[in-house]
């Protein structure tokens, strides 16, 4: 295991951050607009989000680069700015974190499924290599490959990031199949753990999905297959739409209580995904400090 990860795990569970996109929308990001270019256009606002998670108690914060692969940016005709968007995203989180938190660069899916031939493997690998290198230049301490549903895509991203030598966390999104323990592509936690570790991931995990309680079984299976503490970032349940706005019924308190159950089944890193905010992380931090897990 990478020494950076080992050091962090001395005080497990390690607290990570929550959702970013909705935080930026609260700061004026138009609906439907990609968040990643804000690293160049509104770095102060992005840094506010990062700083809010550090203040909430996150020991690892991510970067506003989830959708910043050149493949995905190409949808917005911004592929040629991928390097500077990633570099800036890393630098912004780095500045917000100071020496209070580690910064792991977020790498999300490209929107293409390589395992069914949507995208050429070399092109995909090149895009992830470029993104990982730019994040490293911007000063990240590691990488989080997240919200992947196609194992082949996650493996490509892990391989691309692995060359850099920083620690790598690799997460898929589960929720399909019986008991929601497969990805929509049919991958099991065991298959994912094996392939992602083989590709060079230090830690495997799960993010997004229906909520902390539904995630427990996947975390347990990932932990058994991986033999290592697992990364877990759950959604605040599924949203209802009220007057055109997504409302999550899970409160910061209930979210924190449910997340605090996950270390018992093998989670070593805890955080939030869709529907969460700094307040959720703060509640979770309070519980962890009190040892309520």
């Amino acid at each position: 295991m990478h020494p950076v990860i080992e050091a962090l795990l001395h005080t497990a569970p390690v607290l990570t951050d929550g959702a970013w996109g909705t935080q930026m929308q609260q700061r004026g990001l138009p609906i439907g607009a990609p968040p990643d270019p804000w690293n160049l256009d509104w770095p102060d606002r992005v840094q506010e989000v990062a700083a809010a998670y550090v203040a909430a108690g996150a020991q690892i914060i991510l970067t506003n680069t989830f959708g910043a692969s050149s493949v995905l940016l190409d949808r917005h005709a911004l592929a040629d700015r991928a390097v500077e968007i990633n570099r800036a995203g890393a630098a912004i989180s780095r500045a917000a974190a100071g020496n209070r938190a580690k910064v792991f660069g977020s790498i999300g899916p490209t929107g293409k499924l390589p395992s069914v031939g949507d995208i050429d493997a070399d092109l995909l690998y090149a895009a992830f290599s470029q993104q990982a290198a730019a994040l490293a230049e911007g000063g990240v301490d590691g990488f989080v490959i997240e919200t992947m549903c196609d194992l082949a895509e996650a493996v490509a991203a892990v391989r691309a990031a692995h060359r850099i030598g920083l620690p790598i966390v690799a997460c898929l999104t589960y929720g399909a199949g019986q008991a929601g323990a497969r990805t929509v592509m049919g991958t099991t936690p065991e298959q994912a753990a094996t392939a992602l570790h083989e590709a060079g991931a230090d830690i495997v995990g799960a993010n997004c999905g229906q909520g902390p309680a539904d995630m427990a079984m996947v975390i347990e299976r990932l932990h058994a297959a991986s033999g290592r503490p697992v990364w877990a970032k759950a959604n605040a349940g599924l949203p209802r739409i009220v007057d055109g706005v997504a409302v999550y019924d899970v409160t910061p308190e209930t979210f924190a209580a449910a997340m605090a159950q996950l270390p018992a089944v093998g989670a070593g890193f805890l955080g939030g995904c869709c529907g969460t905010a700094p307040e959720f992380i703060q509640r979770l931090a309070e519980r962890i400090v009190k040892g309520e897990h």
């Binding site: 929308q25 609906i31 439907g32 607009a33 949808r75 917005h76 929107g111 499924l113 395992s115 069914v116 549903c149 399909a176 199949g177 019986q178 497969r182 990805t183 929509v184 592509m185 049919g186 599924l238 949203p239 209802r240 739409i241 055109g244 706005v245 997504a246 869709c274």
Partner: protein
């Protein structure tokens, strides 16, 4: 003689080349295109849908079967057109305004085609006006909308409203789906139907067109 059971199996197992080849051979031998479609290909896709809902098949299996179906349809369609046979319905499909996610939408489009529909795919970031203009111009009975983001879901509501304002509500039915979309949301905005998966989408589309 072409082995028509092999056509069924080829679609079921996603063997694109075999599906296309068997279809071509059967048509050369004078097989009725409507019969190939109704007796072998659509039942195979229905079985694919069933296996998906039973958690035997996942997205990759769905996609390769849909591709095999599409390859066979390339031969069937021109012949069907000659006989004047009509598809069971026309669906205009797209991802709503502000949303660029197309994996789910493409999957539903492929399954609808496999289920015997003519599908007009408007792509992503589709405005209410574009949905309605296309439905009107193409004479579609159904508008199918997809969204991945909670923030873009209101585009579904706008489209249903625009349909009402255009006086087409009722004659053009709406169906919606996507990760954050629920039956409750469909009820709230007055969409006619909802499915949480691509296979169910075929079933509800058939209900909507009375097929």
């Amino acid at each position: 003689m072409a082995d028509l059971q092999a056509l069924y199996t080829a679609v079921l197992e996603g063997n694109k080349n075999l599906a296309a080849e068997t279809t071509r051979e059967a048509l050369d031998e004078g097989a009725n295109p409507e019969e190939l479609l109704q007796k072998y290909m659509i039942p195979a896709m229905d079985e694919v849908g069933r296996l998906f809902e039973e958690n035997e098949y996942f997205v990759p299996e769905l996609l390769i079967s849909a591709r095999a179906m599409k390859a066979a349809l390339e031969y069937i369609r021109p012949k069907l057109a000659e006989t004047g046979a009509k598809p069971i319905g026309k669906v205009v499909i797209g991802t709503v305004r502000g949303d660029l996610h197309d994996i789910g939408k493409n999957l539903v489009a492929a399954m609808l085609e496999g289920g015997g529909f003519e599908v007009i795919d408007l792509g992503v970031d589709v405005s209410p006006e574009k949905f309605i203009d296309a439905a009107r111009e193409q004479g579609a009975q159904v508008i199918a909308m997809s969204a991945l983001l909670t923030t873009t879901m209101p585009g579904m509501k706008s489209t249903v409203e625009a349909l009402t304002n255009a006086g087409l509500k009722g004659s053009v039915r709406t169906m919606i789906g996507g990760a954050p979309v629920t039956q409750r949301y469909a009820d709230d905005i007055g969409a006619d139907a909802f499915s949480d998966n691509a296979s169910g989408a075929v079933r509800i589309a058939r209900q909507l067109v009375g097929a």
